[in-house]
Each structure stands twice: as C-alpha cells, then as structure tokens.
C-alpha cells in the first residue's frame, strides 16, 4: 500500500486537466505514440466534440520514481464545468490527494476556489500546479503569488509545468509520490468497497468502479450490496488501464472494477458499499452526499412507441450519471415521458445527447424549470417544478422561488457591466471585494430561474471571456409567478409553458414567440404563434405558409438521388413533434428560453 497514490486532478474548466493526464499517461509509458490522441481520457463522443470533460475518468499508471521505487498511481481526471462538481466530489471521495491546476495566463477562477474547497472538505492533501507556462501570456510569478496569498498555500509546494510541452511534468509526478500520502485502510479487515461509478454492458451486466477501503476481494467471492442486500458472485475484477485489466485480487487502497453478472440495473448504486457475504463488515461507508437537482425538464420520445425503450435507457444511464433523477410524467401534446432533474443546463444537454447517441432515441425536452414552493389559501403546501402543475391562481396565497449565492470573479474593468447584468436578472445584496489588485470578487444573490439558461454564456460574452462564475443554493424567497403559455395555431402546447416572474412575463412572451418563429420551419399552412398569461394574449407572430419548393427536373438518372433526398427530408420530419398539424422541431422547446443577446 505504501507505493499506491490515489489522486484527482481538479481545476477550473479548460485549465488543462485532461492534457496533463495525457502527459502523465505518456510518461508512464501507457500508450504508444500511434495510439495517442489528445485528451485521451475524454472518450465519450460529446466530450471530444465539445472539448470538455463531462465524466470523471480513472486510470491506473505504473510509475518508477527517480529513486527507482515503483509506484502505482490511480489518476482521476475530473470535469471543470460548474454543472459537474458532483463528479468532482465523488472522485475526491476515492482519493487521498489532489492536483489543483491553475492556468498561468488566467489565474485563479471561480471553480479553482470551488474545487479547492471541495478537496479541503474531503481532507485531501493538495499540490497546486501552475499550468500552461509555455503560453506567451503566462504570468507564473503573479499566479504563484495569488496562490500563496489568496489560497493561503505554501509557496514551496507549488509546481510549474506545461501540460502541452511536457515541461515540468516529471517534477509534478515526483511531487505526487513525495507529498501525497499513500492510502490507509486495513487489508485484513472485513471488506468495504465504495462504488463510485458504474457502466452497463449488455453482455456482462454492470461494470462497477470501486475503491477498496478495507479488506480484499477475489474472483469467485460472494458479495453483498449493503443498501439492498442483493447478492452476487464476482466473475472478474481488475484495474483500469486503457482497457480493463483483470487481476486476481483487489485489496485495501486499490481502485478497480468488479463484474458480477449484475443485470438488475437498479441493484448498483454509486455511493453504496460492497462487502463479503462470508465476512460482512459492520457498517456501510458514508457514501456520497445527496446531490440537489436544480433544473427540471420533461423528456418525451419523439415517437411514442419508444417510451419503454426510454424507460430502460434512463435506468442504464443513471448508473453512469448518478446525478440524474427521473419519474413518470405525461403531457397532452407529447404523450408519456419522464420528469427529470438535472444539475444545470449543460447536464441536461449532455443527458439528451447521450440518450440519443448511446441509446438511439430521439427526444423532446420541455422548457426547463426550477422548483417552486406554493402556499395555498387552504393551508396546503405544494412543490412545483413542472408548469403543468401550476395551481389555479385564485387558490394561491404566496409563492417562493429558489435563490442562489453567486460568486463572480472578474477583472476590475468589468464591474459596471456585471453589476448591470445582475440587476437585470433581479439580483439582490450585491457585494464585492478585491482579493488581489485589479480583480474583483463579486457576490450577489440571484433567483436561480434567472441564471439557469444563459447567464454564464452572457457573463462570458460581456466580460470577453474573463468572467468566471460559481454558485451555491441559498434559500427560498417570496416571488410573484405567472404561467406563460404558448399556443401554436390556437392549440396550447403544454410542453412550451413556463413559470415566470410577473414583471418579466410579457417580455418573455414576445421573445418566446420570436424564437419559435425562428425555430419552426415554414410549413404547408400559415402558423399562428401566440403567448398567453391566464387566458389573455400577450404576444403573437405568424409563420407564413411555405409557398414553393425548388422542384427541379427529374429524369431516369436522377430518380434514385431524388428519392434519397426526399427520404432525408422525411427523416428530418421524424425528428419533429407534430402538434395539431404543425411540426415543431426538437430545438424549439429549449429555444423559447433563449434571450436576445
């Protein structure tokens, strides 16, 4: 155990975590040059397309230190985006140490702080690493100073490197084995293995990722999931290289996988403890903190026949995405589906894309909403995260909506712009201080509903990319809500409804109509789009009928091509939802929230 190091790489988004992981993997000789590609650990299609990490990813690296000692490093690359901090917190729970990366050109940003605090809460040893020192705009001295003063870390432990060129990465590796502690735990104690992630394989059942805290586990052992008592026999276990690498045994301090023919998807729960049937441990491990979903939206299959498949897909996806919640839902316009809870809009988009790509189901997601508290005249209390459940306004005594406490880091010169943005979004109790010369840490309490959609994008654009943002849920405060409905050719489309603050309702109605006009393609009929609050119309626009197609000539040689073009057009139509006689594309349901910027 003395030669094992379990650590995570944590940082603000884009500071180079995955790239540093690449260099370490190469330096440990895990891949040939031919197999190598950038951000190796970002193996999901969406991660590669978007250039960001979404899932934490573990890899086991053999490392020979400068003094000749051979170590086993279990490296966890984590995501940096604010929506995925739950991934970070789970990763940290299986580690003793963390590398905190800071971009030498950007300095400390909002998630640098947030992730540092997470690591501290988990009692981890931390090595600050200033990355991207190769950049012409890098200011390593200044950033080092920031780390010492602002984060209160000891200057001696700070390492400088370029994950891109590899410079300094050898020192980082040495620091890991030197400064980070080996795991504790007793290989002779009863087995306690913490499940931190899982994946579904149609042939082998769930592939469970776990950290052995105490005890040891071998192939053939009978195991018990402590949360529900389910019993299985271990078919295979091992460690993560690029592929799964079977081993005879996993013991305390190690990180690896278990395959035990678990076909009942719901038996595997991240955070659960696995123990041995023959010698069970007394108590389960603490597990993970319940994560709080902040955005809710309903998912419907475009083709109603896909409902059962969607149900199965959600179960399997949840294994790999512990932060997702779902329950049955139905809509007049869209049929049967699921009401889902997400950690943010990016999380929502990722779930949508994964369901479509990994499970081949085309989906409609309804307008996202936060969760409101309604207090009714008769004394009842109602929690509503779905506009469809908006109570009759005459029965409402008062409403509360969730507020967040936002922390925004910006260069001083953007103070005015950011202040204005927060005011537009109904911000309260703004406050600021100067953590270091030239930079402002701005705090503000904002209704969550005002930030979920595009706040971060707009913050980025008004600060030319220099602003960064983190938030935590604060409390619920009084609000004045109305339900805004959209009608397409006179038919209300429940999936487009939203709950909005009364002062913003009309503006949202007008904007929503305009967005729908942009998103819905012209069709064979004129389409009227209206926005209404409690039965009175607040906005209207029309989409004129399609008047002509380009119908070119078509003779013998063109028939096949022509047919294929039409088939493609037809397939495109299948990705739309028909409401009344209007085909509404998938994108329209999210677009109604988009602001004008």
């Amino acid at each position: 155990m003395k030669t094992i190091r379990n650590f995570s790489i944590i940082a603000h988004i884009d500071h180079g975590k995955s790239t540093l992981a690449d260099r370490m993997i190469q330096m440990c000789g895990m891949v040939t040059d031919r197999e190598f590609k950038d951000q190796l650990l970002d193996n999901m299609e969406i991660e590669r397309e978007r250039g960001i990490t979404i899932k934490s990813q573990t890899i086991c690296l053999p490392y020979t230190a400068k003094d000749g000692t051979k170590y086993t490093l279990n490296l966890v690359d984590t995501p940096g985006h604010v929506d995925f901090s739950y991934e970070v917190s789970r990763a940290l729970a299986s580690c003793e140490g963390a590398l905190l990366l800071i971009d030498a050109a950007q300095g400390i940003e909002a998630q640098t702080l947030a992730n540092l605090y997470l690591a501290m809460e988990n009692d981890l040893d931390i090595i600050p690493v200033v990355n991207k020192i190769d950049l012409p705009s890098a200011e390593p001295e200044k950033v080092t100073e920031q780390i010492e003063e602002d984060l209160g870390m000891d200057g001696d432990t700070i390492k400088l490197c370029s994950a891109k060129t590899g410079k300094g990465v050898d020192d980082v590796l040495e620091a890991i084995v030197k400064y980070l502690p080996p795991p504790e735990g007793d290989p002779e104690a009863p087995l306690q293995a913490l499940i931190f992630d899982a994946n579904y394989d149609p042939y082998r059942g769930t592939i469970i990722s776990c950290r052995i805290i105490n005890g040891r586990l071998k192939t053939g052992d009978n195991i018990i999931f402590m949360s529900n008592g389910a019993e299985y026999k271990v078919e295979e276990l091992g460690i993560f290289h690029f592929r799964r690498e079977p081993q005879k045994e996993l013991s305390a301090g190690e990180v690896g996988y278990i395959i035990a023919g678990v076909k009942t998807v719901s038996d595997t729960k991240p955070g659960d403890t696995i123990t041995l049937k023959s010698a069970p441990c007394a108590d389960p491990l603490e597990g993970f903190q319940e994560v709080q979903q902040v955005v809710f939206s309903s998912i419907y299959p475009i083709s109603t026949d896909d409902y059962e498949d969607l149900a199965a897909a959600l179960e399997k996806l949840k294994l790999n995405d512990a932060a997702l919640t779902f329950q049955k839902d139905s809509s007049a316009a869209l049929g049967f589906g699921f009401r889902c809870g997400f950690l943010g809009l990016l999380h929502l988009e990722v779930v949508q894309e994964r369901l479509e790509r990994e499970f081949g189901i085309s989906l409609i997601l309804t307008v996202p909403s936060v969760r409101y508290n309604f207090y009714l005249n008769d004394g009842r209390e109602l929690i509503v995260d779905n506009p469809a459940h908006f109570p009759d306004p005459s029965t409402i005594d008062r409403v509360e909506e969730p507020y967040i406490k936002a922390t925004i880091l910006i260069p001083e010169r953007y103070m005015g712009t950011v202040m204005t943005l927060c005011m537009e979004r109904r911000g309260e109790n703004t406050n600021y201080h100067y953590p270091m010369p030239g930079r402002i840490e701005f705090t503000c309490e904002l209704p969550l509903a005002e930030v979920i959609y595009d706040f971060y994008d707009i913050l980025k654009s008004v600060t030319q990319g220099y602003g960064s943002f983190d938030y935590e849920l604060a409390d619920y405060r009084g609000s004045d809500l109305v339900k805004l409905d959209f009608l397409v050719n006179g038919e209300p489309v429940d999936a487009l409804s939203q709950l909005v603050h009364r002062t913003k309702a009309r503006e949202r109605g007008v904007r929503g109509c305009n967005r729908l006009k942009e998103e819905i393609p012209r069709q064979m009929f004129k389409i009227a789009i209206q926005a209404a609050i409690g039965g009175s119309f607040v906005a209207r626009t029309n989409i004129s009928a399609l008047r002509k197609d380009v119908t070119a000539k078509c003779y013998g040689g063109d028939i096949s091509r022509k047919r294929k073009l039409l088939e493609k057009q037809k397939a495109g139509k299948k990705r739309m939802k028909t409401v009344g006689n209007v085909d509404i594309p998938q994108s329209a349901f999210l677009a109604v929230l988009k602001s004008d910027q």
Binding site: Q523, M524, F525, L546, R547, K548, D549, V550, T551, A552, K553, C554, Y555, G556, G557, I559, S560, K562, R563, L566, E567, Q569, K570, K573, N581
Partner: protein, 391 residues
C-alpha cells in the same frame, strides 16, 4: 404475399425506354452538375467504339429478349459532340439489336451551334424524330452568366434549321430564377421562346448544385438568386403564357401541345422499365437499378478489356419501389392511377398511406379524380414537401 406477387409480376409487357448517354460538351456550363467532360482531345473515337461494343453486347443477352422498347433517347452532355453520321450509326445498331417498336419516339438533345442544317437533316433521315434544344435563356447577358457557350441568335438558328430539316416535334429547354433575373425579364425570354413555336418546352427553376462555379459565386455573394416572391411570379407567368398558346403543363417542369408530350420521359415518371447505356447512364429493370460507371476512361477501359461496364447497383425492396413509383407519378399533372399501382405492386395506395394521404387530400394538396391521384394547383408548388411525406 407481396413478394411472390412481385416476382411473378411480369414487367416485360410494359413499354421500355432506351437511353444512350453521350458524356461530352463543348465547354462546361457554370451551373452544370451532370456527368460530362469538355475540353480538347476528348476521347470521342474511343468512346464511340466502346459504346458500340456495349450495345452489341446485348445481342447475346437473353434478358432483353422479351422486352420491347417504345422510345429511344440520346442525351448528354451534348450528343452532337459526335458526328451526325456516328449518331445515326449508333441508332441503327440499337434498332438492330433491341426489339424496338415499329414507330418509336426517337429523341436527341442538341445544343445550339453544335450541329447545322445538314447535320440535322442526317439525323432526321437516320431515324431521329424528336429534337430537344438546350436554349436555356433567350437573353445574351444571362447566357454569359450561366457560362453557356452560345448566343441567342445561334439558338434561334438551330431551331430554324431543325424545322427546315423536317423535325415536327421540337422541344426547347428554358431556365428561370437566374441570378439577377426579374419576372419581366423571364417573361421576355419565355415569350421569345414561345415565338420559336416549339411543340414542347422543359422549363425549370435553376438549382445551384453544390460544387459548381455558380454555387460558389452565390455563396461568395457575387450574385444573388431572385426573391421567393419573384420566383413565384415567374412560375405564374410560365403557366399563364404557355396555356395561352395552348401548351399545357403535363409534368412539374414540362409543357407540351396536346399529343406532343415526351413519351420517353413519361416512362420514367410512370416507373416503367428503362435501359441506360454509356458512362453514368442508369437502368432500372425489375427491382434492379444499376448505374454505369460515370467516367469515360474507366468505362472504355473496362469494355475494351473485360467486355463489361462496371455498375453500381441498388436493389429496390418492394415497398421502396412502390413509393418511388408514387412520388415519380405525382410529378405528372394527371398523377398516378391507383388501380394500375395496385395491379403492378399489389398495394392499395389509399390504405397503404392511410391517414397521411387522407390528410393531404382533405387539406386539398392532393386530389382524387376517379382512379387518379394527383397534385392540386395548391400542391404543385410545394410538391417536394408533399412527396417527402409519401416517399
């Protein structure tokens, strides 16, 4: 079962079309995405021999034994890049090898200034009885813009020569919706075209095809297509002016004096069988659709060395074929015959499409007229959107 129905269904009783593709042009037009090559040193002689061989090859094929050809069409490219006597020779050869109707429609496409009076006379005497002239526009400025290698006067001269050479079934091709074109400019071109007294016109909207010089110029904003309203007006003008001359629209982009509709093309829209020869030509016989390799040199090489033409094949499943027949048929103004479709494919279109179709009929985009299903005046301009529901 449908399968056994189709395999037992004999297609040979239907009239067949024979298409021969000549892949050469004087120069490449700026909007053209057809397979043809232009330039100097074209392998015309080699191609002629290759095609000769491809045709002759069918004399040994029993698969053609029971098939009767009602129409022959020499298309391109520009068929008149071959000498008239060569074209006549190829026609004669085809008539000797294939079972051709006694009174076939034999068409040839010509481009202005590629054939003169004597040449046209040779063609007419050699058995061609229908001619289609690639006029495209009757405005010199527009012709330049399209990169056409001829002028208006040459187009009109080719028309006069064709008449004098004894062609009584002449078609002209015209295009509207050209960059910068106004509805009144289009009317001028159309009227001037009608003054040429063709029996038939193919009139279509310019479609910028990816990869063509014209598409590039449009993408670079060097020129602009007319606004949708203007194009709609041009479509209106077209129908109005042609009708006034007694020339009726019988297909989305084809107009003719009654009795002068192009039989060969109508065969395609009726999903009747056809055999295509020459590089890039397509055949559809029963459920097999095959496209000859679209490269003159590869075509010649293979014919010379192996005696066969490489093809790219597509096998249509029964329903795809049926649906294809429906969408092609709807291009014609009198549409498809429901009983004929049923007879040929064993599928009843009305029950097969069910609600989709009844909705289109209720909404007046399609009309049921006795046994015929066809596009309504409301449906014609948006034919694609309608076909995309039925494909």
């Amino acid at each position: 079962m449908l399968d056994s129905y189709l395999s037992s269904h004999r297609e040979d009783i239907l009239p067949h079309g024979l298409y021969i593709h000549i892949p050469f042009c004087r120069s490449k037009c700026d909007y053209c995405a057809f397979y043809s090559i232009a330039g100097t040193n074209l392998p015309i002689e080699r191609f002629f021999k290759g095609l000769h061989k491809e045709i002759s090859f069918y004399s040994q094929r029993s698969s053609m034994a029971n098939r009767e050809f009602a129409t022959i069409f020499f298309g391109g490219g520009t068929p008149t890049m071959l000498s008239p006597s060569s074209l006549v020779e190829l026609l004669q050869l085809s008539r000797n090898i294939f079972d051709v109707d006694d009174n076939p429609e034999v068409s040839i496409e010509v481009n202005p200034a590629t054939v003169d009076y004597n040449g046209l006379l040779t063609l007419r005497r050699g058995g061609f009885n229908r001619i289609s002239i690639g006029v495209q526009s009757l405005n010199d400025e527009e012709l330049r813009l399209l990169g056409r290698p001829h002028c208006v006067a040459e187009a009109e001269k080719t028309m006069r020569s064709a008449r004098r050479a004894g062609f009584h079934n002449v078609s002209i091709d015209l295009m509207y919706g050209l960059p910068g074109q106004t509805p009144s400019q289009w009317r001028e071109t159309l009227l001037r075209g009608l003054e040429m007294e063709p029996q038939h016109l193919s009139i279509y909207e310019l479609t910028p095809e990816e990869g063509t010089p014209l598409a590039r110029r449009l993408a670079e904003d060097v020129c602009h297509l007319p606004h949708e309203d203007e194009v709609l007006e041009m479509m209106d003008i077209t129908v109005r002016e042609c009708t006034a001359m007694g020339i009726l629209r019988y297909e989305i982009s084809n107009y003719a004096l009654p009795g002068f509709e192009c039989e060969h093309n109508r065969n395609y829209w009726r999903a009747y069988p056809y055999l295509g020869l020459g590089p890039g030509a397509v055949s559809r016989l029963n459920i097999r659709r095959a496209a000859n390799v679209a490269d003159v040199n590869a075509y010649c090489e293979s014919i010379e060395q192996a005696g066969v033409v490489p093809v790219e094949e597509e096998v249509l499943d029964d329903e795809t074929w049926f649906r294809e027949a429906v969408i092609m048929g709807l291009r014609m103004l009198d549409g498809v015959s429901i009983s004929e479709l049923h007879h040929r494919f064993g599928i009843n279109a009305l029950t097969y499409y069910g609600e989709i179709l009844s909705k289109l009929i209720n909404d007046k985009f399609l009309v049921i007229d006795g046994d015929h299903l066809h596009l309504s005046p409301l449906g014609l301009p948006i034919a694609n959107s309608i076909m995309a529901r039925l494909v």
